[in-house]
Amino acid sequence: MKEVLKDLDKAFENRIRLGIMSALVVNDYIDYTSLKELLDVTDGNLASHLKSLEKCGYVSYEKAFVDRKPNTNYTATEKGKEAFIKHIKAIEQLLQ
């Protein structure tokens, strides 16, 4: 039991962060606006959770311009994907 709990990632305790990672692992990238609509969260909320995931090195982003409007695309890093899979496996084990 203790072993399993160790695998649960603190970074994914929060629903929104879990949601961000869920969406990013199955897509090559998602832009900020689509992510906001998908998760139905406010700007401030999304930005702060993205920032904390960036700090863990789980998420990276790339700024670009589309039709002269700023557009930021977010991607899950390899480290982030591994952490997410480990987290889900831990949950599955807990539920068994």
Binding site: R15, S22, A23, S34, E37, I88, L94
Partner: protein
């Protein structure tokens, strides 16, 4: 504790689904395009194909007037089908308060269009060379391939529908005499049945 994680897993699955698939595609659009296809086929049969002898000839010659009618019917049928598909899908998206034009629907359309346009252009080239006997078979095959390609980005049922269309297309190629009938079955009947199934399931 356990409930929280169960909720988490449920939400993860839902977000993964919603972020990769365009879920607003309406089953009714399948029904309407199927019915329109049957109407278009009836028109084409009465005007153009009734005079052709399908049992003997594989490369049936077609005169300029009939070619014009055939293309006109094709364009009208295609236009009505696309129009009705857009209409029903937009309605469903509004009801679900989802966006019609987003990353998912764009991805769906691009992946549907690649095999569909390839097949469409190939069929047009064959048509102008006079090979009208091949057209029902080839349109079925390419439509099937397009559906299979698109199924990754919307309801997974589309994959089976695509397989059906391909099988019918191959049979139509072997038995060209019956290919119009098989075309009616694939684009009309099966499409309507699938539309109804999906409509019921994803209500």
């Amino acid at each position: 504790m356990k409930e929280k994680y169960l909720e988490d897993i449920k939400e993860i699955k839902e977000i993964m689904n919603r972020s990769t698939r365009f879920i607003s595609l309406s089953g009714l659009s399948g029904v309407s395009t199927g019915l329109i296809a049957l109407a278009g086929l009836t028109a084409a049969y009465l005007i153009v194909f009734q005079k052709q002898n399908w049992l003997i000839e594989q490369a049936v010659s077609i005169d300029a007037t009939n070619l014009f009618y055939l293309l006109l019917i094709a364009v009208v049928t295609l236009g009505l089908s696309i129009g009705s598909a857009i209409f029903f899908t937009t309605q469903k998206a509004i009801k679900q308060s989802q966006k019609v034009w987003d990353q998912q629907s764009k991805r769906l359309l691009v992946n549907l269009a690649i095999p569909l346009l390839t097949g469409g252009l190939l069929c047009l080239l064959l048509l102008f060379k006079g090979f009208i006997g091949f057209l029902p078979a080839l349109t079925l095959v390419f439509y099937g391939l397009a559906l299979i390609n698109a199924s990754k980005y919307t309801w997974p049922e589309l994959r089976n529908l695509g397989l059906f269309e391909i099988i019918l297309g191959l049979i139509a190629m072997q038995f060209i005499a019956y290919s119009l009938l098989l075309w009616a079955l694939g684009f009309g009947v099966i499409q309507v049945i699938y539309g109804l199934i999906v409509q019921k399931k994803y209500k």
